[in-house]
């Protein structure tokens, strides 16, 4: 009797509450998204978050910039250790190995499957997907902001030396730089040699020439991978760069010295730079009035069969230890980002490229690449898809790669300051880099990369 009575009361209460809830909207499930972009890019992310929140009523993403990629990873680790991690976090490309061994994530492909979203993983450009996928091809995180390196060249300066096309080989680059110097250009080409430029100078160069950075297929096949950049074509490349620097054909430009290379190019001071397609917008906005410039794929040495370049940027990881409701929200959010329309919004407001073929096709068909200021950015897609990724051009899967990049900067500075020879510097880079890899392997005894 009492049970029935109680049941009836509960039923009535339930009915009443659902009635009451009907007119008002249910409180949306909130979840956190931490990202590492700042300035203009952070504002674009914020707008994207707002668009997501307005597109549906069930979830609300709270997007917080942590300033930069390093800080995002550091803060996420600290938060994770304290049990206060965000649901979704943006982790940069070289943090992928660390994330994979962390045991702190929920695989992105499983998450989407569990929540009933069908993602066509074959739709991702293979050069992008494989950078973030496991060696078996599973997607543990979602590619987000993606770019690749391009050569920016000043058409006016090249016209002065009778060229209308960008050089395709490094041999041509050498000759063109010399010709520009002779034609009176103070700074034919600008580079910088800090940790950041490991990306375009070492990593992209090695991929384009199908040269390994490390053994074990750049680390994809095991934590016992070790560097080998001191015996690949990269040695010749550094030797040439140094030779051109000594001859005054290349100048070093960095923020610490007063002007970084993007500024040096945009103001017309320097005629060639190698940098991310992400800077395409910046150059367009800040360029000297009337300057003619374009982008081209990075050159290769004559006789090289060109391979795909590497993707740079970051992917979105979903962290473990969250509620099912938050995971539902995260899945909806990732699905929203995956949408071609979001890709168009994202790419037209930043310099980043679309990560899926359907996104790229959608943008192409809507005429995005036909006119300035976006014309030229399709070169990045051409560079990324120049070939089917090989075992080596899939990407780089090395532990503590940030430290190896720092070591790259250190040794390049030593080489360019004439403290050591090119070979000595690169040998030291390999020796110190191996010590970092050794330490990483020791920290994760008995673990293997997925």
């Amino acid at each position: 009797m009492t049970i029935i009575k109680r049941g009836a009361v509960a039923l009535a209460a339930g009915a009443l509450s659902s009635l009451l809830a009907m007119p008002a909207f249910a409180e949306p499930v909130k979840f956190d998204f931490w990202f590492g972009l700042s300035g203009d890019l952070a504002r674009v992310v914020d707008t994207m978050c707002k668009n997501f929140n307005e597109s549906q009523k069930d979830y609300e993403v709270v997007c917080t910039s942590q300033g930069n990629y390093d800080a995002t990873l550091q803060n996420t680790i600290a938060a994770f250790r304290a049990g206060k991690q965000p649901t979704v976090v943006q982790v940069y490309d070289v943090g992928t190995a660390t994330m994979m061994l962390s045991g702190a994530y929920k695989p992105a492909d499983k998450l989407m499957e569990e929540n009933g979203y069908k993602i066509d993983y074959a739709d991702y450009f293979p050069g992008i997907a494989r950078y973030y996928a496991t060696s078996k091809g599973e997607m543990l995180s979602f590619p987000f902001n993606s770019s690749t390196a391009l050569m920016y060249w000043n058409k006016d300066a090249f016209a002065k030396i009778g060229k209308t096309e960008a050089p395709k080989t490094w041999e041509d680059v050498g000759a063109d730089l010399k010709a520009m110097k002779d034609a009176g250009y103070e700074c034919p080409m600008a580079i910088n040699i800090s940790a950041n430029e490991s990306w375009q100078l070492m990593e992209q160069f090695s991929a384009l020439h199908n040269q390994p950075i490390a053994t074990k297929n750049n680390g994809y096949d095991g934590l016992d991978a070790r560097l080998e950049v001191n015996k690949t074509k990269f040695v010749q490349y550094v030797t040439d760069l140094k030779k051109w620097y000594d001859a005054g054909l290349i100048k070093i430009k960095s923020k610490d010295l007063g002007q970084d290379m993007v500024q040096a190019f945009a103001t017309g001071t320097c005629q060639v730079i190698l940098t991310s397609v992400g800077d395409h917008g910046t150059v367009g906005r800040t360029q000297k009035e009337g300057m003619n410039w374009d982008v081209a794929e990075l050159p290769v040495y004559a006789g090289t069969e060109r391979k795909n370049s590497l993707v740079g940027g970051a992917s979105l990881w979903v962290l473990s230890g969250k509620s099912d409701a938050e995971y539902k929200g995260a899945a909806a959010f990732l699905n929203f980002i995956h949408d071609p329309k979001t890709a168009l919004f994202w790419s037209s407001n930043t310099g980043y490229i679309p990560v899926t073929k359907s996104g790229f096709d959608f943008m192409k068909s809507s005429g995005f690449y036909d006119k300035a200021p976006y014309k030229g950015r399709e070169v990045a897609i051409a560079s990324l898809t120049a070939s089917e990724p090989t075992e080596i051009t899939r990407g780089i899967r090395l532990g503590n790669f940030t430290q190896i990049r720092a070591e790259f900067g250190t040794q390049m500075q030593a080489i360019f300051a004439n403290k050591v020879s090119v070979q000595e510097g690169l040998d030291t880079l390999v020796k110190n880099g191996d010590a970092i890899l050794d330490r990483f392997q020791q920290t994760y005894p008995g673990k293997t990369l997925p």
Binding site: F80, D256, L257, Q403, A406, T410, I436, T443
Partner: protein, 294 residues
């Protein structure tokens, strides 16, 4: 019979000390103990576990040439910047104390640099010392390539020393000025009447009387140059070029936070702590003997 008021129960004393003890324990002993523990293990950054490795972390650090380079860079930085900051502050304070025209202004203005956060002042100095756009661009116009902190380690070291010294001149100045003003005027006036000049009076009267202050500032400056240099290095040189300005405290940061090598960074911070302790002991043991406390 005891006449004085005493607290028979020593527990009351302990109780009074407890808040302080808790603070010290929470913010000093506990983290320091944790650092010692981490330095003896290999920590997985995400907290997935750790393994005991004994003194391996210390062994690998001490056998690393880069680390010794970092120690010597730190010592060079500490020595020169402390010397520079103290010498300039001493001269400025001595002049201000002589009530020269405008000394009231200096008294106020010279304190300001210490109030500026290290990263902000580093940013300012980065502009000032930039070889292509800053004041040093003028020097480079006259002698092309003479100033190149981007590739020349000595130039980069000079940059961070200048920035750090500039900040600590203000700090030292306050203490020196206070010390000078605490010297009884009568002593100096008496010496002046005996016919001794400014320099003579400084060496024979003022300098010996401010040695306690000099000693205090020496200890503080050296300690701070090991610890407070971080913001300046991070903004101005990021440890480069080729590790020339990779001071110990910056290396701890970059290995620990950028490289996620928490154990190696913990071991380095233990070594840094020991080094500062040893330096301070040396100063108290040998230099303090020459200090005359009144």
């Amino acid at each position: 019979m005891e006449k004085r008021v005493t607290f028979s129960k020593w527990t009351i004393g302990i109780l009074f000390a407890v808040p302080q003890l808790i603070l010290i324990f929470t913010f000093f002993y506990w983290p320091a103990g944790q650092a010692v523990y981490w330095s003896l293990t290999l920590q997985q950054p995400w907290g997935g576990g750790n393994i005991w490795v004994g003194l391996d972390n210390f062994r690998s650090i001490l056998s690393n040439a880069d680390y010794w380079n970092s120690i010597s860079a730190s010592l060079v930085f500490a020595g020169i910047s402390t010397g520079l900051a103290m010498f300039i502050a001493l001269v400025l304070a001595a002049l201000t104390d002589r009530q020269l025209a405008g000394s009231w202004l200096y008294r106020v203005v010279l304190i300001w640099p210490y109030g500026i956060a290290a990263p902000a002042l580093a940013l300012a100095f980065r502009f000032i010392l930039a070889p292509e756009a800053g004041f040093m661009a003028v020097v480079n116009k006259v002698w092309p390539g003479v100033w190149d902190p981007g590739l020349d380690g000595a130039d980069a070291m000079a940059s961070i020393i200048v920035a750090f010294s500039w900040k600590y001149v203000g700090y030292n100045f306050i203490f020196f000025l206070a010390a000078f003003q605490a010297i009884p005027r009568s002593l100096i006036e008496a010496a002046a009447m005996d016919g001794s000049g400014v320099i003579r009076r400084f060496w024979d009267i003022q300098f010996p009387l401010i040695t306690p202050t000099i000693f205090f500032l020496l200890v503080i400056n050296i300690t701070e140059s090991f610890q407070d240099s971080f913001g300046i290095v991070d903004i101005m040189t990021a440890g480069g070029p080729a590790n020339a300005t990779n001071l110990m405290v910056y290396k701890i940061y970059s290995d620990g936070f950028k490289g996620l090598d928490y154990s190696g960074a913990a071991a380095q911070s233990i070594i840094l702590m020991l080094l500062i302790i040893v330096l301070t002991i040396v100063q108290f043991r040998f230099i303090e003997r020459r200090v005359h406390y009144r």
